[in-house]
């Protein structure tokens, strides 16, 4: 069961939609409305890069004076800092990342998700209905996210699709974040490869010549946005995970083309896959901090659009880190790796896979004997995410907080030898690692920075300086801070 606190349930009950979450962020000083007029380019990306640099306290930013888009509203940075995530989970701003990690791990459940159904004619997402004359370029305040992107991307849509051969299976209904490039007024490409659930649905539809209908949800519940980017099992529902984590309801309704969507979302774009059609897509500045090149991607045609009155277009800045993408998916990337490992190795303490979607990860554990950490590392590489993402993996002891890089560097400095490094070459890798010689292939590097143990004859018995810790030290730190504030006056 979900192990969340009463307070966090109270918070979760108040957050049923993006708008509710923006109100919550506003009440905590984590939301600003940009006061000046902005041009779509380069103003929006400049502001979002500057805000995104502050991974601890960066606010969500609303733009409602975008030149040439009178009356349109766009928001980004909603998941732009760990304080925004803390607010969603019912914690104070500035809560350490490690605490947020353990909180999310404790909530990792799909048991008894609260997913009430709202009839479509009562769902606020259907306040405005468009059935013809679609034009994405006038409907949404689109802008070029990075200067050399091939178009005006939608970077934070949650896309719902169903297995075309098992269309009544709620679990096999997939919700994922796939980058979307509007192509025509009523067409767009969607970047999904065969290993994605969505890619599987497209291939299956083509093979059996059956239609594939999708719902592109914009402006979603903040927990949905986190889980749409989380690797969950093929037959598990992202809606169930999101509602399970919140411990509070997320209302669903049906889109006009028959998919489950959020009833309180800002907008849904209904579309159908055009079999066999591929169009140039990209480049797009991706999470490794480099552009993925032009490729030929599948195409969808819009069949209907519903939205709330005065809809908010939620988008994301993504590129060379730190960006909102890193904060959005970081903890939800770390938690499932931890969950798999913990079952087989209870010695595992924490997993930090925050960096570039886990291209570099750090795992802490209570080592039992020499070489133990290396074997746990190898198991991490065979988790669903580790398989292609965990490129560099650092193993540390339980006395090191993997979310505190000063401590990780200490372990690297004093607990590694040349033979603690393993390089596994010619393994599976991600397509968009810019250092890959062959996209999709690469190395896994394991650095065992745990202390040396028996039967190793030397290293483990060094006397580590005992660092005073606990309440007394915390109180002293607080006292010093207040004395310093006094001295600055």
């Amino acid at each position: 069961m979900n192990k969340q606190s009463e307070l966090s349930i109270e918070v979760a009950k108040k957050v049923g939609s993006l708008r509710d979450f923006l109100d919550l962020l506003d009440s905590k000083g984590q939301f600003i409305t940009w006061p000046e007029e902005v041009l779509p380019e380069p103003d929006i990306r400049n502001i979002l890069v500057a805000a995104g640099d502050d991974d601890k306290f960066g606010p969500a930013i609303m733009f409602d004076k975008i030149k040439g888009y009178p009356g349109k509203r766009m928001v980004a940075g909603v998941h732009g800092s760990f304080s925004n995530i803390a607010a969603l989970l019912g914690y104070p701003l500035g809560t350490p990342i490690r605490d947020l990690f353990y909180d999310i791990v404790g909530r990792w459940t799909t048991e008894a998700p609260q997913l009430p159904f709202i009839e479509p004619d009562k769902a606020v997402i259907n306040e405005v209905r468009i059935e013809e004359n679609f034009n994405l370029f006038s409907l949404l305040p689109l802008y070029r996210i990075n200067a050399m992107d091939g178009g005006f991307y939608i970077g934070k849509a949650n896309v719902v699709s169903r297995d075309p051969n098992d269309p009544d299976n709620f679990g096999k209904q997939n919700v994922g974040i796939y980058r979307i490039q509007p192509h025509g007024p009523d067409t767009f490409t969607l970047m999904s490869v065969p290993v994605h659930d969505m890619g599987r649905h497209m291939l299956a539809a083509e093979l059996d010549d059956v239609p594939l209908k999708i719902a592109v949800m914009l402006g979603n519940h903040p927990a949905m946005a986190m889980f749409a980017a989380t690797p969950v099992g093929y037959d598990e529902s992202e809606f169930a995970y999101a509602a399970g984590m919140m411990g509070a309801p997320i209302a669903l309704t049906k889109s006009a083309n028959g998919l489950d969507i959020q009833a309180d979302g800002e907008m849904v774009i209904e579309a159908e896959y055009i079999h066999g059609e591929r169009q140039y897509e990209g480049p797009f500045g991706e999470f490794p901090g480099s552009y993925s090149g032009v490729r030929r991607a599948p195409v969808f045609k819009i069949t209907g659009i519903s939205h709330r009155k005065d809809p908010i277009f939620e988008n994301i800045y993504i590129g060379k880190g730190w960006t909102e993408h890193d904060t959005l998916i970081g903890l939800n990337t770390s938690a499932p790796i931890y969950a798999v490992l913990k079952k087989e190795f209870p010695e595992v303490e924490a997993v930090n896979a925050l960096y570039q979607h886990g291209l570099t990860g750090i795992i802490s554990l209570k080592s039992r004997f020499a070489g133990f950490a290396k074997s746990v590392a190898l198991r991490a590489l065979s988790t669903p995410h580790g398989l292609i993402y965990l490129k560099n993996l650092i193993m540390v002891d339980a006395d090191v907080d993997p979310f505190d890089l000063n401590q990780v560097m200490w372990a690297l400095s004093v607990r590694t030898r040349a033979d603690d490094i393993m390089v596994l070459d010619n393994m599976a890798g991600i397509m968009i690692d810019p250092s890959a010689v062959i996209p999709g292939k690469g190395h896994h590097l394991i650095i065992d920075a745990t202390t040396h143990m028996a039967p190793d004859p030397i290293g483990g018995d060094v006397e580590i300086v005992r660092r005073p810790a606990g309440q007394e030290i915390d109180d002293l730190a607080q006292l010093i801070k207040s004395m310093q504030e006094e001295a600055r006056k």
């Binding site: 380019e41 030149k67 040439g68 034009n135 970047m191 999904s192 890619g199 083509e206 066999g276 599948p298």
Partner: protein, 76 residues
């Protein structure tokens, strides 16, 4: 018809005009050949054919140079 800053074909058309009241602020174009979209108010590094880095230009006469994201099933 307008020339595309990326593939230099001349088939681009207007997709949307951004206005404030009567005033035209920018025009948004789309190219039906390489699917580049741009606004005439953007910085030159994005929309000027001479300022854009060569690596970002496209030659649409060689589609085979661009990888398929999802394989297309061969008709049997």
């Amino acid at each position: 018809m307008t020339a595309c800053p990326r593939c230099s074909n001349s088939n681009a058309t207007v997709f949307h005009e951004g206005r404030e009241g009567e005033e035209l602020i920018w025009t948004l174009f789309g190219c039906p050949d390489c699917y580049f979209h741009w606004r005439d108010s953007e910085p030159a590094e994005s929309i000027s054919p001479t300022k854009r880095k060569a690596v970002f230009q496209m030659d649409t006469s060689h589609p085979e140079k661009y990888q398929l994201v999802l394989p297309v099933r061969e008709e049997s």
